[in-house]
Amino acid sequence: MNAVAPLDVARIREDFPILRRHVRGKPLIYLDSGATSQKPLAVLDAEREFYLTCNAAVHRGAHALAEEATDAYESARARIAAFVGAHAHEIVFTRNATEAINLLAYAFSNSTDKARNAASLPDGAERFVLRPGDEIVVTEMEHHANLVPWQEVCAKTGATLRWIGLTDEGRLDLSDLSVITERTKVVSFVHQSNILGTINPVATIAAAARAVGALVILDACQSVPHMPVDVADLDVDAIMWSGHKMLGPNGIGCLWAKESVLAAMPPFISGGSMIETVTMESSTYAPPPQRFEAGTPMTAQAIGLAAAADYLTALGMDRVHHHEEMLTVAMLDGLGSIDGVKIIGPGVGQRGSAVSFVVDGVHPHDVGHILDSRGVAVRVGHHCAWPTVRRMGVPATTRATPYIYNDLEDIDALVEGVIAARDFYWGSR
């Protein structure tokens, strides 16, 4: 029995005028929310309202508008923090999730550099200092955003990158957890894979990482928008996600990290707004989160993102998750029963709504193109997870990622479009 009330998709769609559009002469069916979500009027209105009524530079100046703008910005931080069960002072705003991961990665390489030069570091920064022989562990299903920055850290510090491999079904090979050893200084992995849809067992991996004292980082880009996430339940040290994938504006991402972790990290980008005192010789830095928000911040985007969090909270994240589970079952069923179609990723259970597939003998680009000609927007390619598609033995995939504004009819249109693409290319073969 499931007592979760279903979402009223027709009502929700009214908040997204873009979904009334036609593309290529057909009604738009948007199934690419894993790349970026559409934005409801409430988010656009919140940004506009800020510019119309209280636009000013935050944390600078003492005039009335500056105070109002600062209040609006800090209230946005508090609402976004509440959305993931965090304290406001543990949330750092970044440009996107990629920048948030880099912020953490640079905490390692900057601490290592500064330690070499005997420069001053915050208390506790020792855990961010890497030496040859130290290891960083990721998985074989990471988005490039959670892989390339760690490769860079290794190149700079002499640390070694290791990874947890995958099973043929597209789950983490947990018999492989022996890669987490006393040498491991950080374990960074994805919550829901953006390409396979797999939801990873956070507790199991976090426990292995904790046992060796490694920092635990979770890429929550594809989980925070789609399911209830509470940092207190996760038992990890840091998570990050992008606003634009959860109905929010472009140009804002969030890093959550434990207060003690943030406090031990040296700055990433430096300049105005992140300092405590400055002399010609040197500076001292503000406590977190300001230490990590150099320069004039993206105020309207933070306010828009808070409106998005409010919108999702009003719907209820358990209902959002339940809705997506229903669509996922329909996709796995509908696509999986097409002759010639293979799902790339696990079946139902411990998986989210990102569904990747290949059509025998038809390149994903061609599948995407036929779908596009029918108004169905999906993503094709390697989805910024090139090693993952390589591991799964395919050159690329077609991926459908639904959200709150999609219903079963959209899934039907997807399935029909895939059949049409297959028939077109199979032709008289």
């Binding site: 390149h363 994903p364 390697h382």
Partner: protein
């Protein structure tokens, strides 16, 4: 693909029956190009020779790769159009094809110059696919500019 059914047929035909596919010797230069947004890949070899009049001639273009119908068919068209031409003429074809692909559907293609390449006119309306159509042509352009030196110096891999 293309909106024009005739053009669609041409592209599908090259996709299903690629001309000149497979890597061959002799050649001077082999290049590997990828389309980083979608992962399409091509390995392409060129063989240039000098004819009796001292003109540089494209004696062979051979290739292997994986990718969508557009990228694969356009490699086939490239091989069909360019092999046997003088390098000067071949470069004209390459330039004509690039211009067509960058035209966003505004150019009427020249069949005498491009042969089956005209079938890609409609593809130029889809910016996301233009890179697919140009993959082999960019690879060829790259290979040729490296190969010219070695053909002048007479270095060829057998």
């Amino acid at each position: 693909m293309s909106d024009d059914p005739l053009h669609q047929e041409i592209i599908l035909d090259h996709y299903r029956n690629p001309r000149g596919r497979g890597l061959r010797a002799p050649f001077e230069v082999q290049v590997h190009h990828v389309n980083p947004t979608c992962g399409d890949e091509i390995d392409l070899r060129v063989h240039l020779t000098k004819d009796a009049d001292g003109r540089v001639v494209v004696s062979d273009v051979s290739y292997d790769g994986q990718g969508c119908s557009i990228s694969q068919a356009s490699a086939s068209v490239l091989a069909e159009q360019i092999v046997g031409l003088s390098l000067g003429d071949a470069l004209m074809v390459q330039q004509g094809f690039s211009e067509l692909m960058q035209s966003r559907g505004t150019l009427t293609p020249d069949e005498d110059l491009l042969g089956d390449g005209i079938a890609f006119a409609g593809v130029s309306k889809y910016p996301a696919r233009v890179k697919c159509a140009l993959l082999a042509w960019m690879a060829w352009r790259d290979a040729v500019s490296q190969a010219v030196d070695s053909v002048v110096e007479g270095k060829t891999s057998e």
